[in-house]
């Protein structure tokens, strides 16, 4: 196609803006919304001279970007998807870095009584019973997969739900916006919730069930499958992410006086 | 370049959508003088001129110039009934044909300025956008633009149709000069006075054919066909 060739030529002409060291990493919207990246990226640039370009997408798309080789590494939080990714020969290994947790958010008035729930499954059963408006990510992301697994453990199936269940197919911020707009319930990662600027009438109602913990892992894309991947840069970043400096930065990262992530990488 | 005359037109015709606009025409034209084409409205005068010039493609027959057709075309020029004003200034319009011939810009503009002054569009008018000119001024510009390449043969399609007496006289003066310096003119007109003033020979066109073709004096003294006589009388001829 003529357009493509001309575009490629233009690329060559303009492509001189090649940065010294740069790599592409796909991260999830939940991670990005936490704001932790704004803290880590400048330090990475200062320490390693490495510019990490973040593509902020849902876990599903992050996995697919890794499979296609369009990025050099991925940082996601969905163990099952990660293991499938590795089984398919798309990544070299997974390195656990840190975890945060999910929380249930809903209208302050709490018509479903979620605040009194004894467990995550219990909270969801209360929502289903009251048929209060509930917003789901619906985008195949780590958060979405987590939500679906929780419904399952509560013996409920989203397929059978009525209009009160809204799958928006969007990132965490957009989903929270929708929940605020319809004054409904939503499961969000704590970081996105704390950083969210449009809370409206919503409040954090339930958290603490261990099943809500959310493990982030770093997976380099397999160079055997995609030779162009910048393996040395990827390795440098991995070493940095499990270093003591990263540990300090991650553990001390707070929003409104609340810590979000717990560093748990093994050396 | 060798002279393009004499030109021999044999059985030439132009068709559009199956209808015959003009033709068949058989003519022999030599290289001297001014030929005036007259006839009622819709008779095909414009089409005849355009056919001879080569802007209308022949549907049949042929037109043979004394030199190769390409050379012949370069030695001709045409002044249209509604002159085309290019979206440029007066002087740039006149210079355009020279620029097409790859004449340098300064030279072309200088020559165009001389012509502009000759037709009365010099001074301030030079830079005026041509689209703002009046009817008479447009005709004069078209004439200057046609003459700047010093054509051997100049076609004019009713050049004074919408002009007042003074403008008509100015144009006729230029035409007389140009004819005297050797340019062959083939011109259509509705103005019988003008025809008599300028013609060396007359072509009377009726229903797309050349009904009569005679030297001017003879024609105006006594035309041969009835329709020509009626036409000169001022009657409506169909």
């Amino acid at each position: 196609m003529k357009h493509m060739l001309l575009g490629a030529l233009a690329a060559v002409a303009m492509g001189t803006a090649a940065f010294a060291d740069e790599m592409k990493m796909a991260v999830t919207t939940s991670f990005h919304n936490s704001g932790l990246a704004e803290v880590l990226l400048p330090e990475i640039k200062a320490d390693l001279g490495l510019e990490v370009q973040l593509l902020v997408v849902g876990t599903g798309q992050a996995i697919r970007l890794g499979e296609a080789g369009d990025v050099d590494a991925i940082l996601v939080h969905s163990k099952k998807a990660e293991e499938a990714f590795l089984a398919g020969g798309n990544g070299t290994h997974r390195r656990e870095i840190m975890y945060n947790d999910f929380v249930f958010v809903g209208p302050k008035a709490d018509p479903a009584g979620v605040a009194e729930a004894g467990s995550a499954a219990d909270a969801l059963q209360k929502v289903a019973a009251s048929q209060a408006a509930f917003v789901s990510r619906g985008d195949d992301s780590g958060t979405h997969k987590k939500e679906l697994s929780l419904w399952k453990s509560a013996d409920l199936s989203p397929e059978g739900f009525g209009d009160w269940y809204n799958a928006v197919g969007a990132g965490m911020g957009a989903a929270l916006n929708t929940a605020a707009g319809m004054n409904g319930y939503i499961m969000s990662d704590r970081a996105s919730w704390l950083n969210f600027a449009n809370k409206g009438d919503l409040a954090l109602l339930y958290s603490g069930d261990p099943v809500l913990f959310n493990q982030y892992a770093y997976l380099p894309v397999n160079p055997e499958k995609h030779p162009h991947v910048k393996t040395d840069l990827v390795a440098e970043l991995e070493n940095w992410l499990v270093s003591d400096k990263a540990k300090d930065l991650i553990n001390s990262y707070q929003i409104n006086g609340e810590a979000l992530f717990v560093f748990n990488a093994k050396p | 370049m060798s002279d393009l005359f004499p030109v021999s037109v044999r059985n030439a015709s132009v068709r559009r959508r199956g209808k015959v606009l003009v033709g068949p025409v058989d003519l022999q034209l030599d290289g001297q003088g001014t030929s005036i084409v007259i006839g009622p409205n819709g008779a095909g005068k414009t089409s005849l001129l355009k056919m001879l010039h080569g802007i209308l493609r022949l549907g049949g027959g042929q037109i043979s110039w004394a030199c190769p057709t390409e050379q012949a075309q370069r030695q001709q020029a045409f002044v249209f009934q509604t002159p085309v004003m290019m979206r440029r200034s007066v002087v740039e319009n006149i210079a355009y044909p020279l620029r097409l011939n790859k004449v340098a810009r300064q030279e072309a503009l200088a020559e165009a300025t001389i012509w502009a002054e000759r037709i009365g569009l010099g001074g301030d008018a030079l830079q005026r956008p041509a689209v703002l000119l009046s009817g008479g001024e447009r005709q004069k510009l078209a004439l200057a633009r046609a003459l700047i390449r010093k054509p051997r043969l100049l076609f004019l399609d009713e050049p004074c149709a919408s002009l007042d007496g003074r403008a008509t006289r100015e144009i006729e003066e230029i035409l007389t000069e140009v004819a005297a310096s050797g340019t062959r003119l083939i011109m259509s007109t509705h103005n019988m006075g003008q025809a008599q003033r300028l013609a060396d020979e007359v072509l009377f066109v009726l229903h797309g054919k050349v009904a009569e073709f005679s030297p001017a004096e003879a024609f105006f003294a006594g035309p041969q066909t009835d329709q020509a006589r009626a036409f000169l009388n001022g009657d409506i001829v169909e």
């Binding site: 001309l6 575009g7 233009a10 303009m14 080789g69 162009h228 | 689209v131």
Partner: protein
């Protein structure tokens, strides 16, 4: 209001994003014009068998949904795709490519309309003067430059406000491929309306400037200036 404050103080992010938006769209416009304008002139003066069909296709392509263009370009440029080896995905170049594809039909169509009108005017004269095909095209492009500029501005207006395609092929990467429209989408999604509005004001200002220019150009046409 916070948004206005960001504008007045020329917030660094805002400036960076605006400049990148301009860079991407102006580059796309330049490339698109190089393709579309001569194409439009050629279609106006040259008779060939497929001409009507080509013009019809060109007009139809104006209705291409931009986001679909983005999807196709993404698939082409992805490592898994035919042009993956160029490594262009998620770069400003990919965004430029997508925008070129989107605005070429628009610019060519508008330009062709005007040039066709101009040609029907100039036709007899240029043929009588033995102008070559190349000379005819050059004359049309030059004399019709006002209309061509209008076509280009229309293309700019369409591209600067486009968000779907460039979001897909650019990835909205901070400090790399984030532009006005994708930033607005992002900030709105985060609930940060101040920044989104600030960006929105800039975008509106650009769009208004473009439309005023088109209007002014139209006026100079009727007054016969250049």
């Amino acid at each position: 209001m916070q948004a206005a404050w960001l504008l007045v103080t020329l917030d660094a992010d805002l400036v960076e994003i605006t400049l990148r938006s301009l860079r991407v769209t102006l580059s796309a416009l330049a490339v698109a014009c190089l393709i579309a304008l001569p194409l439009a002139a050629l279609l106006a003066v040259r008779r060939f068998r497929m001409r009507r069909a080509t013009i019809a296709v060109l007009n139809a392509l104006m209705g291409l949904p931009p986001v679909v263009v983005g999807l196709v370009v993404y698939v082409m440029l992805s490592r898994a795709g035919p042009f993956g080896v160029l490594g262009l995905l998620f770069t400003p170049t990919a965004m430029i490519i997508a925008q070129v594809i989107i605005i070429v039909p628009l610019v060519a169509s508008i330009a062709h309309q005007s040039l066709r009108d101009l040609w029907s005017d100039y036709h007899d004269l240029l043929i009588s003067l033995n102008a070559t095909q190349f000379q005819r095209i050059c004359t049309l492009l030059w004399d019709g430059r006002r209309a061509l500029l209008t076509a280009a501005l229309a293309g700019f207006g369409r591209a600067i406000g486009e968000v779907g395609a460039i979001m897909i092929v650019g990835g909205n990467i901070d400090h790399a491929t984030r532009v006005l429209t994708t930033a607005i989408a992002l900030e709105t999604g985060k609930g940060d309306f101040a920044m989104a509005l600030g960006l929105g004001f800039v975008l509106i200002a650009l769009a208004v400037a473009v439309n005023l220019s088109i209007h002014w150009l139209g006026k100079t046409e009727s007054e016969g200036r250049w």
